[in-house]
Subunit: 193 residues, 2 copies
DNA sequence: TTGCTTTCTTAACTTAAGTGAACGAGCTGT
DNA sequence: ACAGCTCGTTCACTTAAGTTAAGAAAGCAA
């Protein structure tokens, strides 16, 4: 598991042994069971999450309905907005599958960054990259119909459609579960002809 | 104009005179006329934009139609994804109003950051903050109907509805211009009763 | 296995968005 | 002032999503 994390970091900066040891000593890794709530809506946290294996999701409760807005799978990083804004979280984070996560506290990160300013550079690169990605995703979403969004997901994250419950997928696509069912039936129909 | 920029920066880091002078010497400010294209789809750029006054937008061309996905107004910063990914831009950036912008080249930024590592910290803070904001915006969009999105915009950026053409607003809201017209007529109708 | 619950699909109906076309208002430049 | 263009709204029609409810299928626990 260490190596997965080190390989990920190696895409941004080069670590020496001292730095690797410093990271290792933090005991970042945690096994979490499916269904575990990592952050409850209304609570504050300073924790960030990095998925080594498995899948976690963020969801809001609106009118008693869960609205899933994002899934994080292997090599995805999630720093909840509430960590940045220091306010209670608007959403809940929960475990979709049994997962292995790296969980880091922002105070701990600040300390590591103080010792090794290199990490600040990595954080800068990473968040710039994630921001660029997020903007493109948002733009794609805005300019697509539900059907196009589903087809796009089929191209870009086909695994998600298999490993995640349909009603969570539906709200992730910005529609209701019956709409997703119809949409898929429609596509199958087209496929036949 | 310098002061607007310095005040903005002051929210993240404290600048001494030397650093202010370094920034001033870069002659970042540009007046741009309404309609000016700042970046053409398909082109590469290393420029980032910061709006001191006015409004710029990003749009895609799909099936011969302009699809506007974002507006940047006073104190908004835009680093196009193509600057990060080093690929041709998917969208065009154009000036909605006569504007005053700070335009900075990424090589220039790298040089300044080398001299004053403090700027790296600011960039990290800024992009983390923008990422958090973008995620919340995206979530809000996903979990809202077109009508709710319009009402939300009315709350959060009422100026946009006044200063921007309706057909650009429509695609910004993820709908077609006639839908926006109907939606507004519907709301006015409700308002009366 | 049985019963319980959660999940997915289907159906019928309502509502609203997409589409294409037409019209009028406002702007621009000559 | 006039012609030409862009822009916003409206209309009629099509298509698809929202909603509610019901039933089938799958997973879970006793």
């Amino acid at each position: 598991m260490q190596n997965i994390l080190f390989d990920f970091i190696a895409k941004y900066i080069t670590l020496n042994e001292e730095e690797k040891d410093a990271l290792t000593s933090l005991s970042l890794f945690h096994s979490v069971k499916k269904g575990t709530v990592l952050l409850e809506a209304g609570q504050k946290t300073k924790n960030s999450f990095f998925v080594l294996k498995g899948c976690i999701r963020t969801f809001y409760i609106q009118d008693g309905e869960e609205k899933t807005t994002a899934f994080y799978t292997e090599l995805d990083a999630l720093t909840p907005p509430c960590v940045i804004t220091q306010t209670p979280s608007d959403y809940t984070i929960s475990c979709v599958e049994d997962s292995i996560l790296s969980i880091s506290h922002s105070d701990m990160e600040a300390e590591i960054n103080r010792q090794f300013p290199k990490f600040d550079i990595m954080c800068k690169m990473l968040s710039e990259e994630l921001l660029a990605k997020e903007r493109i995703d948002f733009d794609t979403f805005k300019t697509s119909s539900p059907e196009q969004r589903y087809l796009n997901l089929l191209q870009t994250r086909p695994d998600l459609i298999q490993r995640v419950p349909q009603h969570q997928l539906a709200s992730f696509l910005g529609i209701q579960p019956p709409s997703l069912s119809r949409l898929r039936a429609r596509l199958l129909e087209k496929d036949k002809s």
